[in-house]
Symmetry: C2
């Protein structure tokens, strides 16, 4: 019998009405003759409510206790979904990470799944005609502490369950129809991709496309589990994230992405000596600040300027750290700029095509858009530009690379 | 090292401020050189919030899933309390019923504790200087489903933990100072009892004294665990619920209780044949309606009237059932009366003293209070009277039996 793994995020189970909607979809899959595993997140807002409670009690809460608490969000939603499915006349049983025996490492709040102890329990429930509903985002250490998997954690659970129980595909239900060549709100004739490679999707996710978190795509890639991204609000076909295929290479560029969530920080007058950059970014990393693009420009013989981007939401807590690191290396001063946008083109076809970068830069130049920073990977080119020119840039690139619906 | 078990109810952990208060008490006990286990309930209102969610999804929710969901309430409060204790500089670790391995029977929503599998884990945490915070009200079946223990369940957990880990006494913190000879709001000079026997407390609890649920007192009695009832809001000494002692017998009556939560239902013209009462109360029991006092009065040769009391909150759903049972035995009609009060005197001394009942009836007669129903046990006499005469009756009896502060 075919096994289907479906995953629904927090907005899909945000209230009783939406939970009934998810129940109907799961029941539908069951009544088509499949065995069904459903992985769900906490109801939208619940995790934040709990975290807020914790900070009222302790400004620096223990990560173990945070996980113990936050994991209840999914425990509530799996039980509610089981009740909803019962109401539709099908058998269903909910299971926590503990009950499935999802063992992780000890890294609370961002643990990694390392084993699944009680697959037999899940299999037994499936054989007994149950839809098995598994709490996403959570596991336990070998020491019986509850852990959570961090951002995108429920997707990770779903991909792992698809692997462990041998599903052909892991269906991720979200509030978008799939992966588009660009954000349809910016480019109305953006085209939905039928398929996309893990690698391209990873770059898209890293660039801020909110369809899926990169960790889950990575795990899908490692385990060889194809991931079908679909909307929980309609029955459209979605986008399949899978292994790179010949057909994909025909497309030089698969998509254009825009990220306006980053800010640029510049450290001016950094002494130009070996080890200085290392010292700066060690201090920043020690404070768990994630830095994205890093550019160094040598401006005179003795000093250099270093710019990098980070999440705007991290800026407030990061600036004092950056100031500290600048002092540590005797740099001149620190400045920051929140009014930037990062526009990127992504596609596995770039590997075998030359001239893609110059085509991108020309397209931006034609629109009189100034490029402030450039960063590239094998299958991606990103440019930082002024914040208010982001949408114009996306539209120009979408047209230049002929990504529109035919 | 001495082990202290403390239990705090939902109102004691209702918000971050109160959680800090509980944390301070636990830390205080620890710093006196004790090992400390704290059992907590869900934050006030949380369980109801969850139950309400469930009923929105399914009007007849599965009990297994209900337990899976509702048990999260305690999981949140134990984690928050651990964080609060950390803030005060002591080590603490929270544990769910699952983590302690509190095994129960399979009776979801009102399970009984049958075993504790992982006492070693708790002992290890205690040895490592942790205050161990255990989720009340919950356990697991041998089949790995989460169960809850029903009303008063957190007290049960606390008493069981006191037994398993060998605490000399189980401290139950609540919003009252202890057990009084009568409700101090009715009798201003009511006296707090230093000690009370399990039996007397059981009768008091059954009579509606909200200090403790009878199940926990019963378990304390069976396990021989003395229970100290204290306020979480002050440092007064509380009341110790313990084995009956010689000294207690000196007090003929330990307390007067008043219950205005019950209503009287009368079935008139019930055919006077063997098996009729059985038939009526079987139908009522099948609908899970709890009946308290039952009185039968034969009024003529062929028929009889049967009266009983039940919770007012159950009245609405019960009346159709009672009507049905009356029809089933061809009784004449059903009437109900919500305007009643039940006043009771309780005390182990009654066993060895005669004339207590007549003294009670005389006291009521002197106040011109009419008695409508009487029910007695070995250590209790209850009278149903008019609702508006309840307080007057309590005051009269309190004086008659000389219970006031000396």
């Amino acid at each position: 019998m075919r096994l289907v793994v479906q995953k629904y995020g927090g907005s899909s189970v945000a209230n009783p009405k939406r939970i009934m909607n998810v129940a109907r979809r799961a029941v539908q899959a069951k009544r088509k003759g499949n065995q069904v595993i459903v992985v769900v997140s906490a109801m939208q807002g619940e995790t934040d409510r709990l975290i807020h409670l914790a900070y009222q009690v302790n400004p620096d809460p223990s990560r173990r206790e945070m996980d113990q608490m936050v994991s209840t969000g999914e425990q509530v939603s799996v039980a509610l979904l089981a009740m909803a499915i019962h109401r539709l006349g099908e058998k269903a049983i909910s299971m926590t990470g503990f009950q499935v025996g999802i063992v992780t490492d000890e890294l609370h709040t961002q643990a990694k799944i390392v084993d699944v102890l009680h697959a037999d329990r899940v299999k037994k429930c499936l054989r007994e005609e149950n839809i098995v509903i598994i709490a996403g985002f959570q596991g336990q250490t070998r020491n019986h502490a509850i852990t959570t998997l961090g951002r995108g954690g429920s997707d990770l659970t779903a991909v792992a369950m698809a692997k462990v129980f041998g599903a052909k595909v892991c269906e991720i239900y979200t509030d978008v129809d799939g992966v588009y060549t660009a954000d349809p709100r910016i480019v109305p004739n953006a085209r939905k991709l039928k398929e996309i490679s893990y690698e391209t999707m990873l770059e898209m996710a890293a660039l801020g496309s909110k369809v899926m978190h990169s960790r889950s795509v990575e795990v899908g890639k490692i385990y060889g589990v194809p991931i079908l991204v679909r909307s929980s609000l309609n029955h459209n076909s979605g986008t399949l994230i899978t292994e790179e295929k010949k057909s994909m290479e025909k497309e030089v560029v698969s998509g254009i992405s825009l990220n306006t969530q980053e800010a640029k920080v510049t450290i001016f007058g950094v002494p130009d000596r070996p080890g200085v950059a290392a010292k700066i970014f060690k201090i920043i990393a020690d404070h768990h600040i994630n830095v994205d693009m890093i550019i160094q420009n040598k401006t005179n013989t003795k000093t250099t300027d270093i710019s990098f981007t980070l999440m705007k939401s991290d800026l407030k807590r990061s600036l004092p750290v950056v100031e500290k690191s600048a002092e540590a290396v005797k740099a001149a001063r620190v400045a920051c700029d929140e009014d930037i946008a990062k526009v990127s083109i992504v596609g596995v076809g770039m590997r075998s095509h030359s001239g893609v970068a110059s085509k991108m830069f020309s397209a931006l130049a034609k629109e009189r858009i100034n490029i402030e920073m450039i960063s590239t990977s094998e299958i991606r080119i990103s440019c930082v530009i002024r914040g208010d020119e982001g949408k114009k840039a996306v539209r120009a690139l979408h047209q230049t690379f002929r990504l529109a619906k035919k």
